[in-house]
């Protein structure tokens, strides 16, 4: 059946199904008919990587460096420099999965992920927090990942941090939003830190979540992808992988749909015949593709983690201008528990957050004249994001409906709601200590705290579905790794148990939250798995 489909696709595509130009790397836009002079769509390749974020770009670069033929498929466009317009509407539409509107099925939580060449690393906040050692101990003990020790990953973590040019911003570079959070910590005696990041030559444009027009992020687009291209990797953008069909251990058909120029509509289909396939599209798209392909049966898209975040706002008498400078530098670590016996990393963390007016307005509690009054004080607004590590739950499940719609089922547990309330309590205290006139929790019609005696209002925060605008920026665990096919989708080397030759390399593998930010953990694991793959392949 699949062979018949391949023959039919080859006939349909005709000359465009040639093997392309092996050895010549580049970024090719399949939304452009004909791809430009002399270029053609890939037909038969050795390695097909799906997703061009930190994981996909890292493994593609490693394979190419070892002389392997690699193509990478990316659903999003290639956007750099002036094409990153710093406008909410256009950038969420173009750089994010589901045009920025992907949510859990009950609409309670926005599920954000990159859909652009370079993936999430193009639109994240640049925070570098490596895997906590205590989490690795839990992975070894509870999840049977005996190879995942701090010692075994040390070399990979170093490589990841080198890719990121990791450094710590100087205190003098903090914008007022971050400085206010830090001053609140100092007054209350809360533990805090200035976070490590992967910016070099930052000019403080303030729109990291919409990409960096100054190319100051040392991310997959500015580091791994140019190196991979130099070694011959071909990146195809606006190419949506729809299905993987294993035809044997060394033969897999990947059905791909080319998208139109804006990425809204599928325009034509082509099939790539790959010896081996690596999924690195991010946890939700990877889980979705596995479900569509009928792979990792019983495990794909189950018990995943969303690591919920809640934004809150505080208004100050003096201007804050949260939209200018590095949006997220300070983390309040007072309430993090890095020695939690069950999870290794638990509690919560508070970080400063700033943003452009469109997205900030969606995080305020009300509309009408009262909502407009809030936004008239936008320049006086400081933001904080409350981050909560997550654990696998039976209520988390991806579902693909017959009409093609992806449903992300996720329910907050009573324990999570309790932690959310605790984190709001701490954030209110912090902002009030920093001199805020009022702190606003985005629950309609608005939960406003002007003094500590207002704190009993917290009891009204029930966190019922679709009441507060929760956010997930760190999705994980849709195809967990483990020592047995009974308990996991993938082996510790990332290979699917039920489809040899198909690998997962992204955060889908994580059995629990490795840290508060997943870019460094994803890169570390990608380096580790690439090394293991090359040791057995080349």
């Amino acid at each position: 059946m699949a062979a018949h489909r391949l023959r039919r696709a080859k006939r349909k595509a005709g000359a465009a199904m040639n093997a392309g130009t092996p050895g010549r790397g580049g970024v090719f836009d399949v939304s452009s008919p004909g791809l430009g002079a002399g270029e053609s769509l890939p037909g038969k390749v050795k390695w097909c990587v799906i997703g061009s974020g930190p994981a996909g770009a890292t493994v593609a670069r490693a394979l190419a460096k070892a002389g392997q033929e690699v193509v990478v498929l990316e659903e999003g466009p290639d956007r750099q420099g002036e094409k990153l317009t710093q406008r909410d509407g256009e950038m969420y539409d173009q750089l994010y999965m589901g045009r920025g509107g992907r949510t859990t099925s009950d609409l309670s939580m926005s599920v954000l992920g990159g859909r652009v060449l370079g993936g999430g690393s193009v639109i994240n906040a640049c925070d570098v927090v490596p895997i906590h050692r205590s989490v690795l101990r839990v992975w070894q003990k509870q999840f049977g990942l005996s190879e995942y020790s701090a010692e075994a990953l040390a070399e990979d973590e170093q490589a990841a941090l080198a890719d990121l040019s990791v450094n710590r911003p100087d205190k003098s570079t903090l914008n007022r939003n971050n400085a206010l959070l830090l001053s609140g910590c100092e007054r209350l005696g809360f533990r805090s830190e200035i976070m490590q990041h992967n910016r070099v030559g930052c000019v403080g444009l303030g729109t990291c979540f919409l990409g960096c027009p100054a190319s100051a992020k040392r991310n997959a687009r500015t580091v791994q992808i140019p190196q991979a291209v130099a070694d011959g990797v071909r990146f195809f953008v606006r190419a949506r992988a729809k299905r993987i069909e294993p035809m044997g251990k060394k033969r897999h058909l990947v059905t791909v749909r080319a998208l139109d120029e804006r990425g809204y509509h599928e325009t034509r289909e082509f099939v790539i015949e790959a010896e081996q396939v690596i999924l690195a599209a991010g946890a939700i798209p990877t889980g979705e593709l596995l479900l569509r392909s009928g792979l990792a049966k019983g495990h794909a898209g189950r018990r995943f983690l969303l690591q919920p975040q809640l934004p809150i706002a505080a208004f100050f008498a003096e201007p804050v201008r949260c939209f200018s400078g590095i949006p997220q530098s300070v983390a309040v670590t007072e309430f993090e528990n890095l020695e939690d016996a069950t999870h290794g990393f638990w509690g919560f963390r508070i970080e400063s957050i700033g943003g452009t007016p469109g997205i900030v307005s969606t995080m305020l509690p009300t509309v009408g004249p009262e909502g407009q009054t809030h936004m008239q004080r936008y320049a006086h607004l400081a933001g904080a994001l409350l981050l909560h590590p997550d654990a696998p739950s039976d209520t988390s499940r991806l579902e693909v409906e017959r009409n093609g719609r992806l449903l992300i089922h996720y329910t907050l547990s009573a324990e999570q709601k309790q932690r959310l309330r605790q984190s709001v309590d701490a954030a209110v205290r912090l902002f009030l200590a920093a001199g805020a006139q009022e702190v606003v929790v985005p629950m309609p019609p608005g939960l406003v705290f002007r003094e500590l005696s207002d704190l009993p209002k917290l009891a009204r925060l029930a966190f019922e579905p679709a009441t507060v605008p929760l956010i997930s920026a760190h999705q994980m665990g849709t195809a967990r790794m483990g020592p047995s096919a009974k308990t996991a989708a993938c082996s510790p080397s990332g290979e699917l148990y039920d489809a040899p030759g198909v690998f997962v390399f992204d955060s889908s593998l994580f059995p629990s939250s490795p840290s508060s930010h997943i870019m460094a953990p994803v890169l570390t694991i990608a380096h580790h798995l690439s090394r293991r793959l090359l040791s057995r392949t080349v």
Partner: protein, 180 residues
Amino acid sequence: MTANPFACLARRRFLRYSLAGFALLVGGGTGGLLGLRGCAQDHLGLRALSAQDFRTLSALAEAILPAGNGFPKGARELLLPEAFDHFLADEPEFVASDLRMALTLVEFGPVWFSGRAATFSHLPAQKRLALFLAWSQSERLLLRQVTLAFRKFFCLVFYDHEEVWPHIGYDGPSAKRVLR
């Protein structure tokens, strides 16, 4: 052009309410309810919505982001309903149909949920806003979902508009100034 806050609206729940609505229509007199709604004027250039749905959407936009209160132009004057229609035209059909159902729910919501004798777009703007705010705190999940989805879209697009920035103290994208 705009974000999509509607990708995962709970279809089954919409269907359930639609069936309930249908039963009400039959029980309460289809002619009566449709009569309350009345006919909407044609609006040229619509790509995804009917004239009826567009009228509901415009009434909603006007209520939640009105002109005045320091904003010379509101959502309607900045053509956000038109932007929403264009956005919807490029969404998968299951999203578009959910949103049409959501607009039906909004239009007949005052009759079904609040016992009023007028549909949404026939209410004065202040009453529309009051109803919308009440729904955002409703015990009914569906009503909260509908308000959340429309609020996200309209707020994101409204405050991204350059004509709004002078009124909120935002000086616009910084790259051209800083990287000059």
